[in-house]
Amino acid sequence: MAQTNRSLIPGFRPALTFTIVYLSLLVLIPLSALLLKSLGYGPSQWFTLLTSPRVLAAFRVSLSTSLLAAAINVVFGLLLAWVLVRYPLPFKRVFDALIDLPFALPTAVAGIVLTAIYARNGWLGQYLEPLGFPVAFTPTGITVALIFIGMPFVVRTVQPVLQDLDPAEEEAASSLGASRLQVFTKIIFPNILPALLTGFALAFARGIGEYGSVIFIAGNRPLVSEVVPLLIMTKLEQYDYVGATVIGMAMLILSFALLLIINVLQAWTRRRAGAL
């Protein structure tokens, strides 16, 4: 009885075939090529390259700025989403559209604009630098660029969840004697935490691979403000293809591991939230 094994949803086989072919063409084959190419170095060469001070510094800069930017985005992205959902604002639609701008703007443009503003002679830079707080050409500048790039990810993941929250749940909490702060920490926050984590993961992933906007504001000083994607570009320009792929591979493994951790964390909060 072959019939009994049939799934209720038809087209399982074509759907699976399509998924595998599509993923292979776009993700698996390119990544396998990367892996193969990187195997042109033996283990000792891998180790020497990846532990060289310049590479280590680049990883440190990339990871720390991406994590910091994503964390800042979680806080202020939530605030933005909150304001957009909860308060009647004049020109709300305009603000709402502005959120998506970092998605659409060519990243190089963003980088140039930010550099122009935060450079020593820029609008803000001319006040910040005398205060001993240089932004352009430092890791701070990279963080600023990554905040700009990653902000819409947090807003756009949290916003719909905030919108769907049942106001009656908050009213119920108030009627049971909860203060405003308690309503937020005990009712609203647990409900939006999974979305916040998703936003964090997306902003972080975007930040760690960001190239266009960062290279202008970073100043790209080796050991100080050089990010991993730039290091890969440098290797390529020196015709060191294997070296470039090794760094790329290390970067891939590292970000994959981090995203996996965030996903597990997210699944855990979701289970705790009762939405199985």
Partner: protein, 386 residues
């Protein structure tokens, strides 16, 4: 805790939800706010709770003016139509919520909270569900948990907004009996909002009938059903047959068809007489002043039989709805097409313009009660014929 509502008005834009409403509810009563959708009953409940602010008027709880105090200071328990359980918390944590958010000085220990929560869960007969999440419960279970959660903080007043509105008929019936019993045990002043007259009659000790932002009548279920003060109340609480005519020397003259009028009816032109389906008596023998009628449909509605009659003396095509008990029906032993004679008992007489004004409203408000059964009857009848 007693509740006083003084001259409350509330507008939403151009729409007047409440127009100068005053109401007094003594301690320990279980009161129903009854009315069609949009009559302002939910707004009134939310204003009493403090979830909504009135444009004008005062709310006094236990004699104290609480008009501007926040909902968390009013010591009320509120039960929402769609339960509003905290989805991310277990049943236990939901019920414990009100105790856990208390200020440290007033907060009971976890041990006391645990005992109290289980007592409440036993009260609503759901202690075996303590570890579940709301998504894993049925609607009736959720509403009982919502009630347990509201009772946990020992509110002085319990406010229920269409508490059984989202449940199916059987569960609804069971839960409203249960609510009645619970109230008899706890004696907590309670108001519940409903658009279901049967529910209001069965559960409450007093009914407040509302329409278009004003109170039409306040009274016990018996008072509002047997002695409706306005045409609206007549129509909203149960089905009625409406006759037009005039009152003349002790007779109700309905377009040439004369019926003895109640003594207090006096002498009036242009009246509308409202007669409930069970207040139409049928007999097989011709008597003076009893018009003949033809049985058009017979519908077996469980405990009663519902008959639709054509009355040629009325001069219109409209049928009269009659309800007779099984025993009466068996004694009559009529079938479709037979002739019977009808006597109107206990007609309520209103000036015609009042009645005309209310018709429009009640057509919106009580459409299902007024029209659906007839349509359903017609379909059943046709189905049997073919």
């Amino acid at each position: 805790m007693s509740i006083q509502v003084e001259n409350i008005s509330k507008k939403f834009g151009d729409f007047t939800a409440l127009n100068n409403v005053s109401l007094e509810i003594p301690e320990g009563e279980l009161v129903a706010l009854l009315g069609p959708s949009g009559c302002g009953k939910t707004s009134l409940l939310r204003i009493i709770a403090g979830l909504e602010q009135a444009d004008a008027g005062r709310i006094l709880l236990n004699g104290e003016d609480q008009t501007s105090s926040h909902v968390r200071e009013r010591e009320i328990g509120f039960v929402f139509q769609h339960y509003a359980l905290f989805r991310h918390m277990t049943v236990f944590d939901n019920v414990a919520f009100g105790l856990r958010v208390k200020k440290r000085a007033e907060r009971p220990t976890e041990k006391v909270i645990k005992e109290k929560v289980f007592d409440l869960l036993k009260l609503v007969q759901l202690d075996w569900l303590a570890d579940r999440f709301p998504d894993q419960l049925s609607g009736g279970q959720r509403q009982r948990i919502a009630l347990a959660r509201a009772l946990a903080v020992e509110p002085k007043v319990l406010l229920l907004d269409e508490p059984f509105g989202a449940l199916d008929a059987n569960v609804r019936k069971e839960l409203r009996r249960w609510l009645r019993r619970l109230h008899d045990e706890l004696h907590i002043t309670s108001i519940f909002v409903t658009h279901d007259q049967e529910e209001a009659m069965e559960v409450s000790s007093r009914i407040v009938v509302m329409n278009k932002g004003v109170i039409e009548q306040i009274g016990t279920p018996e008072q509002v059903y047997e002695h409706p003060q306005t045409p609206f109340v007549s129509r909203f609480l149960g089905d009625v047959n409406i006759f037009h005519g005039r009152v003349d020397q002790g007779w109700l003259d309905l377009d040439g068809w004369r019926v003895p009028a109640p003594a207090e009816a006096g002498q009036r032109e242009q009246v509308a007489a409202y007669v409930r389906p069970h207040d139409v008596e049928l007999t097989l023998e011709a008597e003076p002043h009893l018009p003949p009628a033809t049985v058009r449909h017979i519908h077996h509605a469980g405990s009663v039989y519902k008959l639709e009659l054509d009355v040629p003396a009325r001069g219109t095509d409209e049928t009269i709805e009659v309800e007779v008990s099984r025993r009466e029906f068996q004694a009559l032993n009529v079938s479709t097409g037979d002739t019977v004679y009808i006597r109107l008992v206990n007609p309520r007489i209103y000036p015609r313009e009042d009645a005309a004004a209310v018709t429009v409203v009640s057509e919106i408000g009580t459409k299902s009660a007024q029209f659906n059964p007839q349509i359903a009857n017609g379909e059943i009848h046709l189905a049997q014929k073919t």
